[in-house]
Symmetry: C3
Subunit: 439 residues, 3 copies
Amino acid sequence: MNTDDYNFIQKSTLSTGKEMYSLMKSLFPICRSITGNGVRETLKIIQKYIPLTIHEIPTGTKAFDWTIPKEWNIDDGYILDSNQNKIIDFKKSNLHVLNYSIPIDKKITFSKLKEHIHTLPEQPDAIPYLTSYYNEEWGFCMSHNDFLKLSDEEYHVVIKSTLEDGSLTYGEYYVKGKIQDEFVLTCYVCHPSLCNDNLSGTVLITFIAKLLSKIKPYYSYRFLFIPETIGAIAWLSKNESNIKKIKHGLVATCVGDPGDVTYKRSRHGNAEIDKAAEYVLKHIEKHSIIDFFPSGSDERQFSSPGFNLPFGSLMRTIYGVFPEYHTSLDDLNFVKEEFLADSFSKYIEIIFVIENNRKYLNTNPKCEPQLGKRGLYRMIGGQKQDGSDEMALFWILNLSDGDNSLLDISNKSGLKFDLIKTLSDKLLSVNLLEEKTND
Amino acid sequence: MNTDDYNFIQKSTLSTGKEMYSLMKSLFPICRSITGNGVRETLKIIQKYIPLTIHEIPTGTKAFDWTIPKEWNIDDGYILDSNQNKIIDFKKSNLHVLNYSIPIDKKITFSKLKEHIHTLPEQPDAIPYLTSYYNEEWGFCMSHNDFLKLSDEEYHVVIKSTLEDGSLTYGEYYVKGKIQDEFVLTCYVCHPSLCNDNLSGTVLITFIAKLLSKIKPYYSYRFLFIPETIGAIAWLSKNESNIKKIKHGLVATCVGDPGDVTYKRSRHGNAEIDKAAEYVLKHIEKHSIIDFFPSGSDERQFSSPGFNLPFGSLMRTIYGVFPEYHTSLDDLNFVKEEFLADSFSKYIEIIFVIENNRKYLNTNPKCEPQLGKRGLYRMIGGQKQDGSDEMALFWILNLSDGDNSLLDISNKSGLKFDLIKTLSDKLLSVNLLEEKTND
Amino acid sequence: MNTDDYNFIQKSTLSTGKEMYSLMKSLFPICRSITGNGVRETLKIIQKYIPLTIHEIPTGTKAFDWTIPKEWNIDDGYILDSNQNKIIDFKKSNLHVLNYSIPIDKKITFSKLKEHIHTLPEQPDAIPYLTSYYNEEWGFCMSHNDFLKLSDEEYHVVIKSTLEDGSLTYGEYYVKGKIQDEFVLTCYVCHPSLCNDNLSGTVLITFIAKLLSKIKPYYSYRFLFIPETIGAIAWLSKNESNIKKIKHGLVATCVGDPGDVTYKRSRHGNAEIDKAAEYVLKHIEKHSIIDFFPSGSDERQFSSPGFNLPFGSLMRTIYGVFPEYHTSLDDLNFVKEEFLADSFSKYIEIIFVIENNRKYLNTNPKCEPQLGKRGLYRMIGGQKQDGSDEMALFWILNLSDGDNSLLDISNKSGLKFDLIKTLSDKLLSVNLLEEKTND
C-alpha cells in the first residue's frame, strides 16, 4: 500500500462507514451459530463484495483436541401459554432460543420450565444471548420483565431445530501481495443478531479485503470469516503447514460502538503488529492499550503456545465490558456508521505502517553522505535548523544499520512514520539506501 | 509441602509463636560467642526439638583466608570498687564483659580503666554489646549512667576467661526431600543475651526445621546454626564440593521485633527466592524490599563472588536500624510471640511457593484443549466471565511453554499463586500438563 | 591520571580559565573557514601551547562520499553607498561576508543587492553567521537595523576573496599513554569570530591536551582541531585503519556560556563515556542529559553507522538554543572565564573517571577475606557501622567478579567513585585484587 493508495482510502472512510453499516443491516436478521445455514447465508451475502472461498468441514473431523460437532439448524421456537399465546417467539428475536438447543415439543409445568429459561435480572429489559454448543440441552432466553409476567401452571414449549451430521462452514479470502509473508485478518460469523459482537468486525474485514484486493499490497493478506473458537481451531488444523508464513495478525471484533479505541497486544507484547498499533494509537487522545490475556476471541487459538503467532486485536470497547454485550441491546442502534468508519480508518493506518515498515541499509555508512550534491540539503548553511525533513534524512541514514525498521526510526526520532517513509523513498531513489535482504 | 500441609502449619502459627518464645527464654541467659561452651549449651537445648548434628572444627584449621581462632570460655567478670562492691557483674548481664576478652585480674587506676570501658552516651541506660574476636584485648561494657557514677581512684578488674586451643562448634540439620536440590536456611548462634539479634532467627529456624521434618518436602532442606561470619566461612569451606546443590537460601535474623517485614534481596536480585519473597510481601500492606548490599549477616559469605548463591534475608526491622540493636535493650520484652509467629508464617509461605513453583509443559500446545469434555468448563456459554478458575486454566495452558514457572504465571495473570497451583494440579491430573524435565 | 594529578589539576582550574580566555581572545579576530589561512593562523597560535602536527589535504582529495573543496581565502569585503561610505566592512566583523563567498566587484541596484543580504529580523542588532561552502554564491550579512537604513538605488559591492586549489588544514596532537587504546577529544576550528561556538571548545581542548602531555596517562589521547563535518570526514577517511583503537570520544563545543552543563549521549546510549559523564553530572544540581540525535557537531560523523564510535558531547547550552548562536552576539562578552573553567573541570573529572575505571578480580572470591589481619578493619566489633570505607571495601570485593567496573561499583553502592578507586588501590596493594586481563 503506497502513500497515494493510503490517502485515497482514508479520504473515503465516511462513505465506507455507510456501506459497512448497510451490509451489517442485511446480515443482522440471520440466525447464525457455529455451524449451519446461518453462516452459509452470511457468507453468500459477503460474496457480493469479495470473492470468498467457502469451506465445509464435515461433522466428526478431528481438529487437534476437538471434533467438528453436529450441524445445527433451526426453523422456529416458541412457548405457548394456556391461551395458546406465544409468550416467546424465535421469529421476533433469534436470541430467544438457546443457541444450539436440541429440538423439543412438549407441555411442561412452569416450575420445570423455569430451569430452562435464562434472564438477566440486572438488565430486566434485555434478552440474553446464550449457547450450549457441546452439551445437549434446550432452553429459552427472555427479558426478566417478561419472565416475571408468567403465571400459568403449564406451558407448551416448541423448538424446531435439528442437530445432525453436516459440516462446519467458513469463508476465506486471499489477496496475493509482492511477498508470500502473510498478514491475517480474522473475524467470527457465529453470533446471531448481535451487531457490535461481531457483525461490526465482519463488515470491517469485508471492506478491508475489498480495498486491498484493488491494490497490489506488499504482504499477502488472508481474511478469515470463521465461527469463533472451533472455526479458528479447525482452520489452524487444516493449514498447519503454512502457518510459518504468517507474520502479523489482527482479530477484528467490537469495532462499532461509541467507546474509545482499545488495542490488546499480542502474546509477544512487542511484535511488529504491536508497535504498529501502538504507533497509530499514540496519536489518538483517548485510547487504551492492554496486555495479552489468554481469553477473549480467536487470538487465544492463534497465540496458543504451539503457534504463538503475533495476533493483536483492535477494538473499541472490549467485549464483556459494555452492558449491551451478549444481549438484545447490542443491536443496530448501538453500532453507528461513524464508529465503524473510525475503526476502519485505524485498521487501514496500521496496515499502511506494516506495509511500509522496512529495514534498509545505508549504502554509505561511513560518515554522512553529501546530501547537498544530491539536492537534499539547504544551500546556505548556518541558520538555526527547523527542517524536520533534514532531520528525518539524518535519522534514517544514521539508524539504517540493519537493526532499525522505519517504525523504529520514527519512534526514536519522534518524527512521523509517513515522513520517515517518504524521505526513505527519496534516499532509495538516490541509492543512499538499499533493501536489507535475508533478515 | 502440599496445600494441606501448608494450611495445617499456617493455622497453628500462634501456638508456634508461643513455643518459639518459650525456647528463646530458655536460650536467653546463656553467654554465647563465636566459640565455646555457650554455643554447645545452646545447640544441646535445640536438640530437644530437632536432631541436630553438632560439628567441632579445631582451632587452627584453615578456612579460605581465615583460621579457626582459639576457643573462648568465661566463668565470671566484675569490677570491684575500693569498698569491694561489684560495680559491674557478668553474672547479672553477660554483655558487661567485652566478648572474647582475655583474662585479667589486677588493680588499675580509673584513668587507665576508662580506656577499657565502653558505653553508649546517647542511650545512657543501655549496656552495649561489643566484641574483640581477632584482637587480644580486655574490656567491660556498661550503661553510661552507671559509668558516670564511678568516682574511685582505683578499681580491681577481674575477668575469669580462657582463650585456648579448642574448637568452633556449629549445628546442622538436613531434611531429605524428593530431590537433592537444596534450600538452605541459616541463623547465627554466637550472640549472648540478645533476643531479636539473633535468638529470634535461631528459634524460627528451629521450628521450621521441626515442621519440615514431619513432611516429605520437595526440596531437601539444610538448617545451619552457626557462629556468624567465621561459622559461615568454616561451613562453606568444609562443604565446597556440595555447594552447587544449593538452589535457594534465606538468612533468618531480627524476626521478632514489632517492625514491618523487610526483605533483602539476594545478590542476583531476581532469583527465584527473590520472586517468591516479593510475591509473599506484596500481599502485606506495609513492607520493605531492599537490594542486596555486601554487609549485614551471612549472606555476605554465601553471596561472595566465588559462590554467588541466591541467599535473601527476611527480617522485620533490619539490623543496625532499631535502637535496641546490640544493646541490653534487645531483650525478652522487645521480642514478642506475635511477631515471631508472623515472621514464621511468612517464612512458611515463601517455602510453600518455592516448593510448588514448577515449570510445566502444555501437552496440547496447539490451540486450547477442549476443557468442557473434561468437566473443566461451564456448560452454558455466553454469559460474562467471572470465573477466575477458568481464567487460571487459560493462563496456565497458555504460558506453560517451558519458560514460565507457576509463580511467573501468577505474576503475569495477577491471580494468586495457590489458585494457579491448585488448577495446575487439576490439569496435571487430566494430562494436559506434564513436568518439564532437564531444565 | 592518578588522584594526585587529578587534584592538582582541579585546584588550578580558575587560573586555567583565565589562560583559556586569554587564548580565545587572541584567536577571536581571525577569519576562519573550513579551509584557508584562517585555520593555519589559528593552529600556529595553538602550537605555542602544544606541539600540534599540522596536516594539509589537497583540494580534490576524495573522502568517502565527499571531495576536499577549493581553498577559500579573503582579504576584504565591503559595500559602498553612493557617497563611497562603507556601509558594511569585513575588517570590522568577518561575519559580514557570507563565509566561502566567491569574489565580486561591481555596482548593483538595491533590489538585486537585497537578494544577497542576510539579516535576522527577530534579532535586529545581530549580524548572522552564514556559509555557502558547496554552492558558489556571494553575499553579505548585516544587522537588520542597519539594513533598514539602506536607501540608495545603487551600491558597489566588493569581496576580495579567492577560491582556488589548495588544501584543507587540520591539527592533531597525540599523547601516548600506558595503553594503545585511545580517548579522542575533538573540536572544530572553522568558525570565524564566534566565541562559544566554538573557540570555547578549541581552547578547552588545547588546555586539556597541555595538561595530559605532562603526565603519563593510562589511555593514549588524540586531540583533533578540525574543520567541522568535512574535517571529521577527512580525518576518518585518512585514519580508517586505526579507528578500532578508539574507545571513548568527546566533542567539545559551546563550553563557555553561562548555561547549565548538558551532556549529549553517544549513539550507544550507555557506553563507558556515557556512564562516566552521567556520573559526573549527577553530582551537579542543575544539568541536562539528552539522547543522541544525528545532527549537531562531529559526533554525527564519528557515530555514523559504519563507525559507530562512542562519542558523547559535553556542552553548556546546546548549539542552536542560545539566542547568540551563529550571530555576532556570540562574542568575548558572552563567554566568561569562570564558565570555561567550570567546563574544563567537568572534562577533567570525566577523564579521571575513564582513566581509572578498571575492572578487577577479587583474588579471594570465596567468602570475604579477613580484612582485620591486613589492618583494613576496625578492631572492636559490634557497634553500628558508619564507616563508608569499610562498606566500600565490601562492595569492591563483592562486585569485582570481572563484570563490574569501578564505576559500576560506585553506581551500585551509591559511594563516590574516588572513594572506590582509592580503596581499590588499597586492596590491590595487599593483593586482594588483581587486574582483569583480556577483557
